[in-house]
Amino acid sequence: MSHAQSHLSRRAFLKGAAVTGAGLVLPNWGGLAYARAAAEAAAKAKKRCILLWMNGGASQIDTFDMKPGRTTGGPFRPIQSKVTGLQVCEYLPKVGAIADKLAVIRSMKTQSPDHPDGIYHMHTCYKMNERTPHPELGAVIAKYNGNPDADLPSFVRTGSTGNGGAGYLGPKYEPFGIDRTGRLPYFSTPYLKDEDEKKRADLFRTVEDEFGVDHKAEPFESHRTAKERAWRLLRAKGVFDISKDWPKAKDRYGDTEFGRSCFMAKKLVEAGIPFVEVGQENYDSHGDNFVVHKACMQVLDPAWSALLTDLADSGQLDNTLVIWMGEVGRTPQINNRAGRDHFISAWTVVLSGGGVKGGVVYGASDADGKTVKDNPVSEGDLFATIYNALGINHRAKHYWGVRPIWLTPEGAKPIKELL
């Protein structure tokens, strides 16, 4: 699965990216000027979003919709969170302690049960088998809430988790990928010394200017633009360097790749990047679900709680929506591999910040967690809620050729109780 997703990511990335003469590849860069002030202004005006993507699909019964005493319950025990009526898994104590910041949706009822289709569907809110290439969440937020004058990318993804692609929004909104150790792509490192790179750039500009006098075609301009963006990246990429701050933060976030990525996500949205996706692997626990989830939650709990706490402490949480979700939930039934399989009939997504009401549980599953009992939420409903929280019209119209397309499917409604 992970290899296929990695391949999909690379393919989607390369399809939409400009390749420069020096081999630099730059998707979704903003304008040409490195304008911190502009980024800050945009950050003030528009909301940002961090997506914590639980790759493989986390188990709702083992996290936020526990069923103690039922045959589906499993060995984890609930603990009382900060919010009356909301119990969480004993291995999410730090998240439970800040549950007043969480909106827990316990009634996700979705349509795509497997990984590729689920990843696409839960990134785009449209089914994978449609012919229209819909843009994923990050691309939409990059378009609507990104700053076109910023040097920084408007959509950053860490890790190798799957994606939906920028779709009809075009390559400008493809994600800028960072590997899960925090390493930037190879193309972001110059292979010349600074002074030599500058001389090379000046020579390039001179040649390009002379060439441009007689060659006005768009491809030549695109090439020159991509090249200029690459140079801007070399100047702006210090934003991605968290090495000085991380030693002070790692005890709170957990000294893990996911913890480090969450800390970087906080720094990136504070720098004005409107959308950052952080993936956590390992949730696809068809076998040994409980030890796998226990290990995953011990990584998740400090990272997620520290992220929300830091955003709140810096006054950024109101303007930053943090989403916790994956492509599917997991079955209430425990299979004979001590695992839980994919499940889409009644599962859980958690929102926080960005103006979403905290301390709320929306919807409910039945006693064994097998069906939605109250307030089913579709992919479209969830995305409509997310877009509304971020100040984006969920029915914004786009065109694919001559065909009109909306950001969310017909009938999708935001959950007003959370907004």
Binding site: P75, R180, T256, E281, R337
Partner: protein, 370 residues
């Protein structure tokens, strides 16, 4: 001595409340205790000879609230010790004669529930297997662990207990006093299996951290000086163990052989017992073929020459430790891509019986001709 080449099924003790996770014989008696995923423990009194209707439980031990990970009994059969995911270790006084059975227990409740749910599709609801049991309460509860107590072993003389948990803590106890005599924490991950040498000088502790894809995954096998709490030999990089989660460790009665079993969802028949010289840490031999999709438990035979292993392939295998060769196999894998596990095994004191806990909700008992 029993002929271990000729296993014969004695009884299938149905108790399908949930998966059976631990099993133990009570001293030299024909009493068998089993625990399950719900934290329930029941005891059967078996006839001296196999055959006839399957016996029903006579006692239920009521206190644990989560998975029973291990059961062990003192050699005199008077004290049963249980470890659990509820973070506790409990001692149970086992009377020579059980009190009057007054509490009803349905042994096939899950089968009835499943069939009832599928009745509309033509499923036939089986008649209830009913019995009555007495209920025992624990004599003592040890609460020093603050995480799932995954592993526990009682020394053969019943005097020392070793336990390990998912916080990485290893505790060695004076079993009769219930006090901790030594404690340490493994440097990384969780404790998975523990074993204590018969002279109580050496402990084998395996470690795990169960992430699948990223660098947080961890596996280790180490021999510890049990009195000093220091590592005496690290076997983690031996090719038989490197990167593998070792689910069970068992010393032979003479302490000259240590058996280790690979667990988890390992590919193919790789759930092999591996035999190690505990004095040198040298791998002596592997027992093949291993269990399909991983092993679950090991039990050293009282004769010191054989071990039994159980696995996710619904089999128990009996091995000659001198040669590593398979002596016999009890049960056959059931159908389907993934089988119901045998999750645990225990030999009777005379070595003529073996009891295996079954994921489907039963304790299967085999006898061997003497």
């Amino acid at each position: 001595m029993p002929d271990l080449t000729k296993p014969a099924s004695a009884w299938n003790l149905v108790w399908d409340a949930d998966w059976v996770t631990a099993v133990a014989w009570l001293g030299a008696s024909r009493r068998v205790a089993a625990g399950n995923n719900l934290g329930e423990i029941v005891i059967w009194e078996l006839p001296d000879k196999p055959g006839g209707a399957a016996p029903k439980p006579v006692a239920q031990l009521d206190a644990h609230t989560n998975v029973i990970s291990r059961l062990a009994c003192t050699p005199d059969g008077k004290t049963l010790i249980s470890s659990s995911y509820d973070h506790t270790i409990r001692y149970w006084d086992i009377p020579a004669t059980f009190p009057e059975a007054t509490v009803p227990l349905v042994l096939n409740a899950r089968a009835i529930e499943d069939a009832t749910r599928r009745k509309a599709n033509g499923a036939r609801v089986p008649p209830a297997l009913e019995t009555k049991v007495c209920v025992l309460k624990p004599a003592r509860t040890l609460t020093q662990h603050k995480e799932w107590v995954i592993s526990m072993e009682l020394s053969r003389d019943g005097k020392a207990l070793i336990t390990g948990d998912d916080a990485g803590r290893v505790l060695i106890w004076d079993a009769s006093a219930g006090t901790v005599s030594k404690e340490w924490k493994v440097p990384k991950g969780w404790v998975y299996a523990v074993g204590l040498s018969p002279d109580k000088k050496q402990a084998c502790v395996t470690e795990r951290y169960t992430l699948v894809f990223d660098s947080g995954r961890h596996a280790a096998v180490k021999l510890w000086d049990a009195s000093a709490g220091t590592v005496s030999r690290d076997l983690s990089n031996e090719k038989e163990f490197k990167g593998h989660h070792i689910i069970s460790a068992s010393y032979s009665p003479d302490g000259k052989t240590l058996a280790l079993l690979r667990g988890g969802e390992s590919g193919g028949n790789s759930g092999k017992p591996t035999l190690v010289d505990p004095a040198t840490g040298k791998v002596l031999r592997e027992c093949a073929p291993g269990h399909l999709d991983g092993g679950t438990d090991l039990a050293s035979h009282p004769d010191g020459k054989h071990i039994a292993s159980t696995g996710r392939d619904t089999t128990a295998r009996i091995w000659d430790t001198a040669t590593g060769k398979l002596v016999s196999e009890v049960n056959k894998p059931r159908g389907g891509q993934f089988k119901d596990w045998f999750s645990c095994a225990a030999w009777s004191a005379d070595g003529a019986w073996i009891a295996c806990g079954d994921q489907a909700g039963a304790v299967q008992v085999w006898s061997f001709p003497v």
